[in-house]
């Protein structure tokens, strides 16, 4: 078959699916190739034991850009949203519990048990974050400006965001400038005195990053996430069936629009001739000729594994090599015979959240002080896994009982820090140890948990690299540090989804605005490709 394809999309993650949808809707004929048996990338729901379905990797994310949500018409593709009023729960060393709600007043009530002063400041903080994050939100939808020759039509959206930021007033503007380079621990300490509240805020900034709460620049990570989801604590909104149901629905929307999706197809190379894309080579030996390639894979995988060095400027290649993508996150999924009982939330299933529902429906944090989080990070700097890891868990079955047999539950646990590059030993040998440490840490807050575990699944950073193709096991296609965001993501001068290879585009989370399952990268990349073709 020698028909030349229009666009071949590499990888079937959320952003690739969004790009496929947008391109198909614009009348292109994209073909998407996914190596795994299912599309969805890091947003997949899969069976971990007979009758138990769990979010294999990410359990929460987004929300999707609102314009995208409207265009996709996802309800037509069988999606029901579950929106939890409880956002976050944490328990401190002495067994006291903190519950943060969507309603700031109720959060303040819970915070008051730790500090009256903090409880008073909470609504003001919510309001401040909401205001600043909303103003910054526009930045995410932008294709980063070309620094060398800014185009006039791009100046306006930039000015619009700039105007929104200026409308914040001088005080907020100074705050934004001062806060971004700070450590999130410092930001939290400027507002709050209780450790558990500080840690709850910091958690959002360090997820997936090779950074601890004391790392400078993590306040920017906090606001990067908040700009996607403008509230102080991330929202808990998933479709019935989990994030996997979301990516499946986008896939069917893309197909309905005319995209072709092929799973179980591994790409082994991108052929380049005279500086332009020629074809993609498949691992099984076939090749597909194409005008354009849109890669949802991370930049390092795209340029260092798929494009031959002879087709790249060595200086550019060096810069791609310099991109830092040190994965520090592992995943543990548990099939539980019943609901674990937390010391701080006894009888949780029977309405301790006050609205008849459980306080454990949102994120559950294990790590109740900044020092807990920072100590967990320390080990990873020297290639060791944390003795006492920091965990972000969810019990998806509390919102969506259909994921497990009646009366049973699944627990999804993101684990930090588990450095991809271990100093001693390898992950194959350390897998059990990691699982044990996680269960031990969970048991500190929920003592009966170990006895409930029917089946466990440990996904190490090495698995993330081998099975999902994430370089360095990094969830977001490269760290979101100050030098690797906006016009510097993935490489200064190449932040506009185009690459030095003509016809080759990037659309994964390794591009602006980074990770977080918003679909913004895919949509922006599709726009860039369509603009070039015109």
């Amino acid at each position: 078959m020698s028909d030349r394809q229009d666009v071949v999309i590499l990888g079937g993650g959320l952003n690739s699916l969004v790009a496929a949808f947008d391109l198909a809707r614009a009348g292109r004929r994209p073909t998407l190739l996914e190596r795994r048996p299912t599309v969805g990338g890091i947003a997949v729901t899969e069976e971990i034991a007979p009758g138990f379905k769990a979010p294999r990797l990410m359990h929460l994310g987004g929300p999707l850009r609102s314009d995208l949500l409207a265009d996709l018409g996802l309800d037509r593709h069988g999606l029901t949203w579950l929106d939890s009023p409880v956002l976050m729960a944490a328990q401190d060393g002495s067994g006291r519990g903190l519950v943060l709600h969507r309603d700031p007043g109720r959060s303040a009530e819970s915070i008051a048990a730790f500090s009256k002063k903090d409880a008073e400041r909470w609504p003001k903080f919510e309001e401040t974050v909401g205001r600043i994050a909303s103003a910054m939100g526009g930045l995410l939808d932008l294709i980063p400006p070309d620094i060398d020759k800014p185009a006039w039509k791009e100046v306006f959206p930039l000015l619009r965001t700039g105007k929104k930021v200026r409308d914040l007033g001088r005080k907020d503007l100074y705050r934004v400038l001062r806060w971004m380079p700070m450590a999130v621990a410092d930001l939290a300490a400027e507002w709050f005195e209780s450790e558990i509240v500080r840690a709850a805020l910091a958690s959002r900034a360090i997820l997936g990053q090779a950074a601890g709460p004391w790392s400078a620049g993590t306040a920017a990570n906090y606001f990067l996430r908040a700009a996607q989801d403008p509230r102080a604590v991330p929202s808990v909104k998933v479709p019935q069936g989990g994030l996997g149901a979301l990516t499946q629905a986008i896939a069917s929307a893309a197909k309905a629009a005319g995209a072709t999706i092929r799973t179980g197809v591994e790409v082994s190379g991108i052929e380049v001739k005279n500086g332009a894309v020629q074809a993609v080579r498949l691992a099984k030996g076939d090749r597909i000729e194409t005008v354009s390639v849109m890669s949802g894979l991370d930049p390092k995988r795209t340029f260092l594994n798929l494009v031959s060095p002879v087709d790249l400027d060595p200086a550019f290649r060096k810069k791609v090599q310099n991109i830092r993508a040190r994965g520090v996150t592992a995943k543990v999924n548990l099939a539980l015979g019943g609901l674990p009982e937390f010391t701080a939330f006894k009888g949780a299933s029977s309405g301790a959240a006050g609205d008849g529902g459980s306080p454990l429906r949102g994120r559950i944090l294990f790590g109740s002080s900044i020092d807990d989080l920072e100590r967990a990070f320390d080990a990873s700097k020297y290639g060791q896994m944390s003795e006492h890891p920091y965990l972000e868990a969810t019990i998806p079955t509390l919102l969506d009982p259909s994921l497990a047999p009646a009366g049973k539950h699944v627990m999804s646990v993101l684990v930090q820090y588990a450095p991809h590059a271990l100093k001693e030993g390898d992950w194959a040998a350390r897998r059990e140890q990691l699982g044990d440490r996680v269960v031990k840490t969970l048991a500190t807050a929920a003592p009966n948990l170990p006895s409930l575990v029917e089946r466990g699944q440990v996904i190490t950073p090495k698995d993330l690299e081998d099975d999902w193709g994430l370089t360095g096991g990094h969830l977001f296609g490269g760290e979101e540090s100050l030098d690797q965001i906006f016009t510097m993501r993935p490489v200064l001068g190449w932040a506009r989804y185009r690459t030095p290879v003509r016809g080759l585009y990037l659309c994964g989370s390794g591009t602006h605005p980074g990770g977080g399952l918003t679909g913004a990268n895919g949509r922006n990349a599709a726009r860039a490709l369509l603009a070039d073709r015109r």
Binding site: Y174, L177, W179, D186, A216, L482, D483
Partner: protein
């Protein structure tokens, strides 16, 4: 009885003196009020033990602005800079010795790694290119992004244009330097642990950050600033110790008509009808002037010396957010002879430069890890010099002084800063033990030992939390954010009260730039009739 001056300068540190000298040069009648019996603030030489003179705090000269040396004719007033010959990093069974002879340094690095030796030259060229870009910023008045005036916009445009004209590779390096950690940045260039460890040290000096903290890469540039002036490195000793610099500036100021009063501690700044009119001394005397410039840090100036209500609560809140977090201590040793390093025995030239205990970036980062939780590093980073080898006047014949800068020694110990009174000697022992691992004879040589903890630095010099730069040099406290956003241009919310110390742009080190830049702004206001 009240006396009248045009201007009062609070604090006789090098910036206060530079500030006063520039005002006097413009014909103003100026008095400098210093709390201690010696001038210089943290740049003082004191005979701590009979016959042994120490640069008690700051110990090397780095960035003293050439225009200040010229304008104030400092060489005429006794300033003489002696070269500091290279950096010696002792290791287990080996060493890394970079000398001021470039060729020899390259050969030495090649001994550890050939590729590093090649990269080292490329790195030096890249840094020099960036220095040319960054240097003008040091003499530039920070813009105010909140209400930019036409000059700010022009300045920003000027910067933007220069940034645009910067070749792509340089721009890439610049953005990396401004945002990355020293460790990540150096990892991209070099592979030798000792080279990276020693180079990374310059990124963390005086801050409460580790080499892996983003924002520490920028300071690497400072080490190359001097190079384009013709010398290999701008680092050196002042003959007679660091105090000699303060004395030279003081003498120049006096020649220009500045009156300097020692042992004249200021109790408060007098504000009448929203306007600064003078100061009250602890002795009870009042001194009146058209304006007051404070070279103290913002906490001292706005919280200690101003009366409550003189500035808004909102401004005070910002002043409280400004971070100090002293992280270093100083141990001064009077020695009976020269230390003998196991890895390179004898009294060679390696002792004449800086001796850096920084075998790897992991060593540096581990030192920071302990400090984060409120303890001094059990194996600290140290930068030691033996000035008596270059300047025999500071020690009795055959004897030596050794000055050890030690990091991390966090001001805020887990048990609170006051616990330094209990931990002082244990800290001193740790420093000596760390040295003794590399030069076993050091313990026998020690005649006297002076241990300066961050608490001592605060008590003696008045630097809040013992921060040697009057506040951390972290990204959120630089340029138009130093010390408070909207107040980065030396003026304050109180009329006729100015800031002129290291807490203002462009920050600390014996640079003198804040003192000079602020004086120029004061003179501008005077001309406009505002002050």
């Amino acid at each position: 009885m009240a006396q009248r001056y045009d201007a009062i300068v609070i604090g006789g540190g090098h910036n206060g003196l530079v500030h006063a000298a520039y005002l006097a040069k413009a014909g103003k009648k100026v008095v400098v009020l210093e709390r201690r019996h010696v001038l210089g603030g943290a740049a003082v030489t004191e005979e701590v033990f009979p016959g042994f003179k120490f640069s008690v705090f700051s110990y090397v000269v780095s960035l003293l602005r050439p225009e200040i040396i010229r304008d104030l004719e400092l060489p005429k007033h006794g300033l003489e800079i002696l070269p500091l010959d290279g950096t010696f990093t002792p290791l287990d069974g080996d060493y890394l010795w970079r000398m001021d002879d470039h060729g020899r340094s390259i050969r030495e690095i090649a001994r550890h790694s050939r590729t590093d030796a090649e990269t080292y030259e490329e790195f030096g060229r890249a840094m020099q290119a960036l220095c040319r870009f960054v240097r003008p910023i040091l003499s530039m008045l920070p813009p105010d992004p909140g209400k930019p005036d036409i000059k700010d916009l022009l300045n920003l445009l000027f910067l933007g244009k220069r940034l645009k004209n910067l070749p792509y590779e340089d721009r890439y390096n610049l953005i990396q330097l401004m945002t990355m950690s020293a460790a990540d940045f150096l990892d991209q260039w070099f592979e030798t642990p000792a080279l990276k460890g020693t180079m990374s040290a310059s990124g963390i000096i005086g801050t409460f950050l580790g080499v892996r903290s983003p924002g520490t890469a920028y300071v690497l540039l400072h080490h190359y600033m001097g190079e384009i002036d013709g010398a290999f490195r701008a680092w050196g000793f002042a003959k007679g110790g660091t105090g000699a610099i303060s004395n030279a500036i003081g003498s120049s100021a006096a020649a220009l008509g500045v009156e300097v009063r020692r042992e004249a501690p200021v109790a408060r700044i007098i504000v009448k009808h929203g306007k600064t009119v003078g100061v009250a001394l602890e002795s009870g005397d009042e001194i009146h002037a058209d304006l007051v410039s404070s070279s103290l840090d913002p906490r001292m100036t706005f919280i200690k010396l101003l009366e409550p209500g003189a500035v808004s609560d909102e401004f005070l809140e910002e002043v409280k957010h400004y971070k100090y977090r002293g992280s270093s201590g100083k141990v001064n040793l009077a020695l009976d002879g020269l230390p003998d390093f196991t890895c390179l025995p004898g009294n060679g030239a390696h002792l004449r430069g800086a001796i850096s205990i920084s075998p790897s970036m992991d060593y540096m980062e581990k030192a920071y890890d302990e400090a984060k939780y409120g303890a001094f590093s059990r194996r600290p980073y140290m930068d030691c010099v033996i000035p008596s080898l270059t300047d025999p006047s500071v020690a009795p014949p055959g004897k030596h002084v050794m000055s050890c800068f030690v990091q991390y020694a966090p001001y805020n110990l887990k048990e609170g800063p006051q616990d330094w009174d209990r931990q002082r000697e244990a800290f001193g022992d740790t420093v000596v033990d760390t040295l003794a691992e590399r030069c076993p004879n050091i313990k026998k040589l020690i005649l006297h030992r002076q241990v300066m903890t961050p608490l001592d630095i605060e008590r003696i010099t008045g630097l809040s939390e013992g921060n040697i730069f009057q506040g951390e040099l972290s990204l959120e406290q630089l340029f138009f954010l130093r010390p408070v956003a909207g107040w980065a241009r030396f003026r304050t919310p109180v009329r006729n009260l100015y800031m002129c110390g290291s807490a203002t742009h462009p920050g600390g080190g014996i640079m003198g730039a804040p003192g000079r830049l602020s004086a120029l702004e004061v003179l501008k206001d005077w001309k406009r009739g505002i002050a």
